[in-house]
């Protein structure tokens, strides 16, 4: 494994971790809203959150390029603001990954929140817990399994994704070149041995992370707080 691959690996996990965190921040309120609202908009939003999946990644990437390019209002605004282009930057990658992995975050979270049901939230309210407090101290801990699923799917998917990332990121070594592109290149250029090696590293590393997560999940101590 050469240093370029190493830096791609680092970038990948940085991207996956950041995407997961950002999606937790964005997806959790959305999922909670979806699980509690009686709005008629609800099935519309539910359907919309699944849509990023049905477009092929490269195509989604293409549209994101259009959306984020300096010529677009959003990209232009960003350019003025930061003097940096959204496309071909880590920020752009992040936006793309977040959008593309949105369903993996929102759907399991929503399912988990719905399973919590009304009863514990009512109990929390009568114990003086304000809604936000009740959410963090009751709903979220009771949805732990869903949170885990959402996190794992988002993280793993971001690690493996490369269509969107390639298109929006521009494969700039050290900046937007993630590991999935590197493996892909090895395969394309017939360097199969390199591809095998890199795939193995990726698999072993991911397996270790996931295994640790799942083992920990079993052993969670009973919370006294």
């Amino acid at each position: 494994m050469n240093s370029a691959d190493l830096s791609a690996l680092g970038l990948t996990f940085r991207l996956a971790a950041t995407t997961t965190v950002v999606l937790f921040l964005l997806g959790t309120p959305l999922a909670w809203w979806l699980s509690t609202t009686r709005s008629r908009l609800r099935p519309v939003i539910e359907a919309l959150t699944a849509l990023p999946l049905v477009l092929p990644p490269t195509v989604l990437g293409f549209y994101l390029l259009l959306l984020l390019s300096p010529r677009s209002p959003l990209g232009g605004f960003w350019l003025e603001l930061t003097d940096a282009s959204l496309t071909f930057s880590f920020s752009g990658l992040l936006i793309a990954s977040v959008l593309y992995s949105l369903p993996f975050m929102v759907q399991p979270l929503q399912a988990a929140f719905e399973a919590v049901g009304r009863a514990p939230m009512e109990a929390a309210a009568t114990l003086r817990a304000a809604p936000l407090d009740a959410f963090f101290s009751v709903a979220l801990p009771l949805s732990l399994r869903g949170v885990l699923t959402a996190g794992v799917l988002t993280f793993a998917h971001t690690v493996g994704e490369f269509g969107v990332v390639l298109m929006v990121g521009g494969n700039i070594p050290g900046r937007t070149r993630v590991i999935s592109i590197a493996v892909y290149e090895h395969v394309e250029t017939l360097r199969y041995a390199d591809a095998h090696r890199l795939s193995a590293v990726l698999l072993v590393f991911s397996f270790s992370v996931l295994f640790a997560v799942y083992t920990l999940n079993r052993k969670l101590p009973l919370n006294v707080r």
Binding site: R128, P131, A134, L142, V224, R225
Partner: protein, 370 residues
Amino acid sequence: MCADSLHVDVELRFGSFSLRLDEHFPTEGITGIWGPSGSGKSSLLRSISGLERRARGRIAWGDELWLDSASRIFVPAHRRDVAYMFQDARLFPHLSVEGNLRFAERRAPSKGRSISFEDAVEALELGPLLSRRTTDLSGGEQQRVSLGRTLLTRPRLLLLDEPLAALDSSRRFEILRFIEALHAGFGLPMLYVSHSFEEIALLADEVLELEAGAVRSHGTAAVSFAGGARLQDASLSVLAAEVSRVDARWHLAWLEVAGQEISVPHPASFQEGDGVRLLVRARDVSLATSRPVEVSIRNVLTGRVRSVEEEQDSAFAEVTVALDGPSDAPRPLLRARITRASLHELELEEGHEVYCLLKTVSVDRALAHG
């Protein structure tokens, strides 16, 4: 009175069921809520606690509006300062027993206002359970933890929905005493739902009886029981009395009732001069036409038959007796349930003089507190 009361004027519909009432509850005493299954007791508590958003109308705690559908006021549950113990325990499964208790305590105002964590654990015997998972607890254990959690909320109003249903009778009795002490010590008002006559009789200052969502009766326990009211099948009488002397040797307290005297086992809390009330079940009262002698029943009250009610197709009759007493005061009434056979054998009729034998004066407590 209005400023000191909880005013509940709500309507709540579920399909064919509707709860509709306009009542004032005291902000000091304990109100027992009584009524058959499905009569709307839990729905009433849910409305008061702020969990039932479908309730229309007006709920006010003194001057403080909790609900006013007309002006779209709705104070959410967590800001009503009301604690609600659910009929099902609803413990948090992700927290240990201690975690559940601490959950309430951490969000409660300072200790001064009600019991401490240690007191609750002690009184409810939760010590050995503290580190346990709530999902492994027995039914009664769950209920005790849930009660403890509710008490530790230290609210200004306590709503208890059959808090002792899963407990054995001796523990139930202990916890009842604890609840009563809590009430006396902190002046904490409560609405107390129960199917148990004894619990209501022991605790409640007022009784609200619901039936199919409507109020069937509501009044002070004395009025509600004594005026011939019958809590379902439990016909009983409530008599005001005063502790006239205490007999330490036999552990008895002598009470004056309408100028006559009876004795009851002496609870430690009774002082000479205390006003108390007696609850006497009609079925615990026998009647005699001459004063009985050489019998272990020592509580005998004299009076005159006010009315006789024979029950159709039954062995029983109910006799209401106006007790003798000072001629200026209204005569207290005592109800007796005897067999129709006895009624006819004794030839009891309106106006006859009778001796009422009280075998068990099962419940009694201080009338006024604070």
